[in-house]
């Protein structure tokens, strides 16, 4: 009887300890906080739906993005064409979905690439410091100084018009600012007392970077990343205009918006709907970004 009374609290303690272990990861915690943020969850759901619609939608739709119906011309939204047709009589809804493939892929992939290179490069530069930092940052300055248009034209001259080059061109410029932001963050964190304390505890440099620095630098990184996505999508439209991006009859949101803007007075729906698709995406990204930033920062938690 006595032994049972003794072991019970011990067992309870143990169970509690086990429970605590499971919930201790920074990411798990952030995930729980994110799940509580309704706007962020709604934004994430919307983004996922948009992505699914863009990639799977055209497979189930009856209309093709390239079938022209010149007799029809541009007609406003109707039962046959939900979002109307463009000047060549092509179904706008289908075109927006197809365009979403390109825009979302470019926007998210290029941002992910920029994020990876930028964080990696900036962290090394800021953490190692000294001459390494000087050399790495001068390289960034030099690439920054190259005129983007000239760079794109050079790419086209050497490699021809290839869709992959779109990623190369965008990737080559977008990571630069990210690297600078991360470097600045890391440099200021480097001198924080808790980093010194971590060093004094015998943590390895890698552990300090991944466990203590990157989580602390994530706020600005995420905010900048959500700003990068729309930037990249618009850049893609510009590149398509130069002939490096998508080629007709294929389309993207950037291209659709540009075409829509040309004829906005006669056929406003050609501008409104692609614009709406882009706007919804960007809004969602911003809400998700804000939510992520708040979720990662325990000080922002309301409870």
């Amino acid at each position: 009887m006595i032994s049972a009374a003794e072991t019970l609290p011990a067992k309870l303690e143990e169970a509690r300890a086990l429970n605590a272990e499971r919930g201790t990861s920074l990411w798990r915690d952030a995930w729980h906080r994110l799940a509580k943020n309704k706007m962020a969850v709604a934004a994430a759901v919307l983004l996922i739906l948009l992505t699914i619609a863009s990639f799977a939608g055209p497979l189930v739709l009856s209309q093709s993005y390239e079938t022209q119906d010149l007799r029809l011309g541009a007609v406003p939204p109707s039962a046959g064409h939900w979002l109307g047709t463009d000047t060549l009589g092509r179904d706008l809804f289908t075109r927006i979905l197809y365009g979403g493939r390109v825009s979302l892929a470019v926007g998210l992939c290029a941002t992910a690439v920029a994020l990876t290179i930028g964080v990696f490069y900036g962290t090394i530069s800021g953490f190692v410091g000294g001459n390494v930092d000087v050399v790495l940052m001068r390289i960034v300055d030099i690439i920054f100084a190259l005129p983007f248009t000239v760079f794109v034209i050079l790419l086209m001259v050497f490699f021809g018009r290839k869709f992959v080059l779109l990623f190369v061109a965008i990737g080559a410029v977008q990571w630069l600012t990210m690297a600078r932001i991360v470097r600045g963050q890391v440099m200021s964190l480097r001198r924080m007392e808790f980093i010194e304390a971590a060093e004094a505890l015998g943590l390895s440099k890698l552990r300090i970077i991944f466990r203590h620095m990157i989580p602390n630098a994530l706020g600005p990184i995420i905010v900048y990343a959500t700003l990068t996505v729309p930037g990249v999508m618009l850049l893609e439209a510009f590149l398509s205009f130069l002939g490096l991006g998508v080629q007709p009859p294929m389309s993207s949101w950037g291209v659709l918006i540009k075409e829509g803007a040309d004829s906005m007075e006669e056929f406003p729906w050609l501008l409104i709907y692609p614009g709406l698709a882009l706007a919804i995406t960007l809004f969602s990204l911003n809400f998700l970004g804000d939510g992520l930033r708040d979720a990662l920062d325990p000080r922002a938690a309301k409870d």
Binding site: E13, E14, R16, A17, L18, A20, E21, G23, T24, L26, D29, G130, R191, M192, E193, F194, E196, A197, A198, E199, A200, L201, G202, L203, S204, R207, R211, H212, P215, N216, L296, D297, P298, R299
Partner: protein, 352 residues
Amino acid sequence: MDDGCARAEDALLRVENLRTYFHTRAGIVRAVDDVSFSIARGETLGIVGESGSGKSVACYSLLRLLPQPPGRIESGRALLGDEDLLHCSERELRQVRGNRIAMIFQDPMTSLNPYLKIGDQLIEPLLIHARGSRREVHMRGVAALREVGIHNPEGRMRSYPHEFSGGMRQRVMIAMALITKPELLIADEPTTALDVTVQAEILELIRKMQHELGTAVIFITHDVGIVSAFCDRVLVMYAGRILEAAATFQLFSEPKHPYTQALQRAIPALHEKGEELYTIPGAPPDVAKPIIGCPFAPRCEFALEKCRTSAITLQEVAPGHQSACLRVQLREIDLAPAAHASERFAEKVKMD
């Protein structure tokens, strides 16, 4: 050289001829210039000095925690057993940091990572120094928090630093530093950023933990009062050098360096009313310029021409009592303790 330890084999850590310079654009700053000392197991060693006297830099050098560059350890050895901390590999050093030698810092508000839960940070030293399973480690973390007097330790493991007050954070820092049962704890002004009542609690806590674990403590401070109450032995640092080293009682009852005496006179006493507090005239020398002779000479009332021209060395002037004052070494001057300093010390002893 005798360094105050009764027997050489008792020494836990021996620091010999440590020189740490900062190479800046303005020139070479000799932050620590030829400092030697040792600390015995379980001993509490105080290092007092003004801001910029090199006391923190000396201790950061031991664990090579200074940003290099601009900091550079120019010479010296720091022997922990047979291992020279100044020349071992980074990997070996990491085995010492947080494991055999732990540190606590001045500002508890910024020495915890705001993004990690207290529990996760607390047990990190145990995890990286590979001691036991995750669950054992967690239980030890809870026990450590209870040890340092934090209520509801189990729940507090899941709190974030911003939910703690300054004093509580310093308690966490102490728990974290001592969780691996280190042989030496370096406390860099651990109470400076706290208010007076919390200060006393934290000092008491460090002392309690020290008695339980037998940890030696290096206590860096500019508060002479704390030193007198807390430390077994004291080093007085000035302009990157040690000017005097002695047992606390000796240092306060019979100072052997004019600087120490001046420091004592500058302690405010509670019962002396109406008298203006003594301040040492002048300012500490610029350590970016090479100092010939005694660094305190320009401010010293006993200084002679030879003090300004001949190099100083730390020498034993009484059993276990070292002084770098040339004139004391030659028995030319005899210093009296500042009147209230020894009284004050006697009071502290009574209180303990």
